[in-house]
Amino acid sequence: MDILIYGTINSAALALYALGFAMVYGVSRLPNFAHGALYVLSGFMTWFFLNSLGLNYLISIILAMLATGLIGALMYQFILIRIRGMEISEIMATYAMGLAILEGLRWGGFKGMTYTLPAFIAGSTTIFGVSVDYQRLLVVAIGGAVVGLLWLFTHYTRTGLSLRGMAQDERAALMLGIDSDRMALVAMAFGSSLAALAAICLLPLGNIVVEAGYNVLILAIAVCIVGGLGSWMGAVLAAFLIGFAQILTVVYLGAHYQMVVALLAIILTLIIRPSGLFGRQKELEERV
């Protein structure tokens, strides 16, 4: 039973990590390797707003999300827009930016274990005989809410539908008058804010460390590859697969093997079914 609960919590966490990356890649085919850096950056920003500026927790959160979204948008507008379409250059550029942010934070003194964010609701409860703290429950709740809201957004609002259109077929969307660059900008801003949201939910569970930036990036990419690069629903499903796989290994093999699971998941996917669960990269298998 606790496997079920912890598995769900872990899966929700993974989904939160991955959705930002999946959104940006799905809409504009832009692999945002600065995703992990934005995650950590927003955490530190929240801490800064909360502790150094003494603002209200909620306001800090909102400010951090907006700021991260803005940074993502700026990254796109000034740098990524020039190399749009050249995948390898995009990877290198976003990776370089992520590195610059993360290592810059490390150099700026943000190292060590002293930075934490308070939980929203302290305390814990027991479900089916398993003790779970409220923060973790909140993760699942927010994760579910985000997926649900995202679904509603992309199916019922104008911008959301445009994003979906872009994700399905860029050229057709262009012909319908959807501005590709504008949508990519929106997607970047959204994706960055999602990274911030993930940070805000999950960082209270531990400390804010720069290393988390790399871990989040690895996990997000693993989830997206298994789910199929470009598919949001695939990412959610893959999050559950990997999430439960990780918890099972923790229970039966030991806690250190978690990362190995992610690695194996990627390799297995690439060998057996490179396009992932719901990937639309059929071009991998049939090309002219």
Binding site: P31, F33, I79, R82, I83, E87, I88, S89, I91, M92, A93, Y95, A96, M97, L99, A100, E103, G104, R106, W107, Y214, N215, I218, I221, I225, H256, Y257, Q258, M259, V260, A262, L263, I266, I267, L270, I271, P274, Q281, E283, L284, R287, V288
Partner: protein, 338 residues
Amino acid sequence: MKPGQQRQERIDRGIRIRSDGLYALMSWRELSYLTLPRLALIAGMLILPLVMPGMYWQRVVSIACIYALLALSFDFLAHFVGLVCLGGAFFVGTGGYLAAILNTSFGLSPVMTIPLATVLGAALCTLLLLPCLPLRGVYFAIVSLMYPLFAMRVIEALNILGGTDGILGIDSFSNRWVEQYAVIGATLLFLFGTRRLVNMDIGLVLRGVKDNDQAIRASGMNITRYKMLAVFIASAMGCMSGAFLVHIYMWSGISQFALDFSILPIAATVIGGSGTLAGAVIGCLILVPISELLRDFGTLRIVFYAAILMGFIVFRSEGLLVYGQRKYHQFERWTTRL
């Protein structure tokens, strides 16, 4: 020119175009035009250890050569085969740990461990990268990026191979001059070797894999096999550099999988001129001393490399050597008129 001279020039032109592997040398001037830059590079690198003030800087030269081998492997893979390897640190770590194990557990001397670590490490890396070779280039970039990160975490978590302390007590070279010149020799060997390789028939096939893989498939050749070959060669260079590294520092630890070894070669290649393998070497000879000078700034160095890399990618500058080559060839056009 008189008609007779024009005819002579036309025929000579044919020889010069056709025998582009070999040059029909007609004067000392032409001979020196071709060989001078190469001799300058070789002579320069061989003299370096002698002019360096003190052991610290001599070691910097060795480290620069190690990075140069990595940069060579990156340039070769990226511009001649089309595979962008964002995790060169993985090669360094694999070669390093293999050499360390061969040395400490099997008692082999550096003369044996380095070649063995090179070949075994290359085989291992190629095997691990095999799943992403039949796929689009993006996947290779992603997987190569993640492998060093994974390796670090796995070693740390499972506490194998010495865990965070690493493997200690590795032999060093018999004599520091041997150490220096072995590394420099290896770098020069691989530089000129790779340059020769990309102009041979097999090199043309690899370039075809980058530019036009459909035509290669239509010619009855298996692309994955050629990519495997290229990855083997490149990872051999990387593993060799790792093996040298552990013998120089007499220690092997997870820091070998660190970002430094992934990012600096890329930045150096881009600065030195991508596509010209010599540019990668020169870029390292420039960047590594600078990075030593910046050592006090800690991880800001990485921010610095990242910024350089981003600048070059976005503004697409050609790099030092490409610029230099252009100017040098223009120079030739003036001199042959005389």
